[in-house]
């Protein structure tokens, strides 16, 4: 049952992401990626990482994708770009992607990832476990990431400030 669910979710994930990269309309691309993200969240839940799943939804679906939609709406960019890349470039792009996929899969095909753990630690995905890890071992990266946020915020404000006309 759970295994079937995994395969269904990963199929949704792959199909929607393929549709995402091939769809001409940027609006639809965003929505397909959204479907992909939801199925990824479903996979997180299946791995018992509920906290991460919900944070994933809040951050990706609730904030990042909304920003994308917002920009698309704001700039009216949903009309597809008419001049397309040449067939050759497209072919090369698809070839590159699939060859990288081929290389990675063949490289990892024979790899033994070791035995699954005998005792499953159910508490790994809990907020308290993650909180302890984050605030003990990764305290400095955590604080640095907040600085990263602040700096990106400042950067955005400077970016979109109206330029002073001083001619």
């Amino acid at each position: 049952m759970t295994a079937i669910l995994f395969y269904i979710l990963s199929a949704i994930c792959i199909i929607s992401s393929i549709l995402m990269i091939f769809h001409k309309n940027a609006m639809y691309s965003v929505l397909f990626l959204l479907i992909c993200f939801f199925s990824v969240a479903g996979l997180y839940v299946m791995l018992n990482a509920q906290f991460l799943a919900i944070v994933h939804i809040i951050v990706y679906a609730g904030a990042i994708m909304v920003l994308f939609l917002y920009v698309i709406m704001f700039l009216n960019m949903s009309t597809p770009i008419t001049i397309r890349k040449s067939k050759l470039v497209m072919g090369i792009a698809v070839f590159t992607g699939s060859s990288l996929c081929f290389v990675l899969v063949t490289a990892l095909w024979a790899t033994n990832f070791g035995q699954n753990p005998a005792i499953v630690n159910q508490d790994i995905g809990l907020a308290s476990t993650l909180g302890k890890v984050l605030f003990n071992e990764f305290l400095i990266p955590f604080e640095v990431s907040s600085v990263l946020f602040l700096s990106s915020m400042v950067g955005i404000v400077i970016f979109n400030k109206k330029e002073q006309k001083d001619e």
């Binding site: 759970t2 691309s29 992909c36 791995l47 990706y60 904030a63 590159t96 992607g97 699954n116 955005i156």
Partner: protein
């Protein structure tokens, strides 16, 4: 709902390899998207997909190897992704204001 037997079931029935292959596939789809598309928005979306495949991989490894550290990394990837998207989209809006297009091929002023 998500009790321990179910999790054990899944870990037994779905080998870690499958997660790895899924993530490889997603990553490569994202890469193809970056190379394929000319619309800057789509390029950004593909990058998000690539970051996500890494996230999924990290979570899968953390559960299969019983290590919460990997999930902490996922947080940092999310933070970076959020910051990246915010700055990137701000840049995109700026570019659109200046050259009236989001076609990456239009940005060839630095091309030698």
């Amino acid at each position: 709902m998500n009790d321990i037997s179910q999790l054990q079931d899944q870990l037994r029935l779905v080998p870690l390899e499958h997660y790895v292959f899924l993530c490889i596939l997603l990553f490569c789809i994202g890469l193809t998207g970056v190379l394929l598309r000319r619309n800057m928005i789509n390029v950004f979306l593909s990058i998000e997909l690539m970051l996500n495949s890494i996230n999924l991989l990290a979570v899968a490894f953390s559960v299969y190897y019983n290590d919460p550290n990997a999930q902490a990394f996922v947080f940092f990837i999310m933070v970076v992704a959020a910051a990246e998207v915010a700055v990137g989209l701000a840049m995109l809006v700026m570019i659109y204001r200046n050259v009236q297009t989001v076609d990456i091929n239009a940005l060839n002023n630095l091309k030698w």
